[in-house]
Amino acid sequence: MSEHVTCKELVDFLDDYLEDRLEPPVRRRFEEHLDACPPCRVYLDGYRDTVRLTRSLCDDTDAGPPAAMPETLIRAILDSRRRS
């Protein structure tokens, strides 16, 4: 990685940055870039929001109103057991 982190390098290693897997000197260079580059800050916020949004759906088997299942499908599942 170059002495000054570029936008591309920042994006390439964004997940390592967010998961705190970068060595401290590299992390500092990332933060210097973020301080100087508003578009990369916006990009980082959006990436973080994206991960947060997907993770918020991690266990919704019991959440919310269940999907309406066609009665024909319920019957087909039950019939498949009787046939086996």
């Binding site: 916020d45 959006g46 994206t50 019991d62 109103p65 309406a68 499908l73 319920i74 039950l78």
Partner: protein, 204 residues
């Protein structure tokens, strides 16, 4: 008997009774199981396969598999967790058995572009956090399902397994038959692509 309305309200004793009835071959217990869980497993399958019809097939496959293995069900996990896992596997199997959708876009067009010197080509945009927080849970689920459909199968499955199902990198690699390094790369690219799709949807 287990509540038909909300399985999270069932007690451990309700569940033990249901499992015993299933193992005894009680038709009513099987009907309770299917009517209680099938509607809740549908969204789990739907995130992995790309149509409602395929999700219905995956749920059906999952129950057929569960019926065959109910005697081997270890009560260390809940029925819900067990069925959830079987459904994910059934959906992945179905996805693998179907031909790749020909209309799938390349993920590259959803990734940020850079000049040769590493600077951004487009400065890009974002969205307000309030735009996401203002969505009801069901709206978020519908939005995400719709956007996940726009990703190629190999990107979508990695994203679902790692970020929604919360499987580890090694387990995801094993399930998909790829290396842990490939899981990391695909996940990062899939998150970037989903970010682009969310930006198009949510930016003002």
């Amino acid at each position: 008997m287990l509540s038909l309305v909300d399985p999270s309200l069932a007690t451990a004793e309700d569940e033990r009774r249901l499992i015993a009835a299933l193992r005894a071959g009680d038709d009513a217990a099987y009907e309770t199981l299917v009517r209680t869980y099938a509607p809740r497993l549908f969204p789990v399958a739907r995130r992995i396969v790309a149509s409602d019809a395929e999700a219905n097939d995956a749920v059906q496959d999952a129950f057929i598999s569960a019926f065959k293995s109910i005697d081997r069900f270890s009560e260390e996990s809940s029925l819900r967790t067990w069925l959830h896992r079987i459904t994910v596997n059934a959906a992945l199997m179905l996805l693998r058995s179907r031909r790749r959708r020909p209309e799938q876009r390349s993920i590259d067009e959803l990734l940020p572009r850079f000049e040769a010197n590493g600077h951004r080509v487009d400065t890009g945009g974002g969205w307000s956090t309030a735009a996401v927080e203002g969505l009801e849970r069901e709206e978020k689920r519908r939005l995400l399902t719709r956007l996940l459909d726009e990703l190629p199968d190999d990107s979508r499955t990695v994203l679902v397994l790692r970020d929604i199902e919360e499987r580890g990198t090694a387990e995801t690699a094993e399930v998909l038959g790829i290396t842990p390094g490939a899981v990391k790369t695909r996940l990062h690219r899939a998150r970037q692509a989903l970010r682009t799709l969310l930006e198009r949807e949510l930016s003002e």
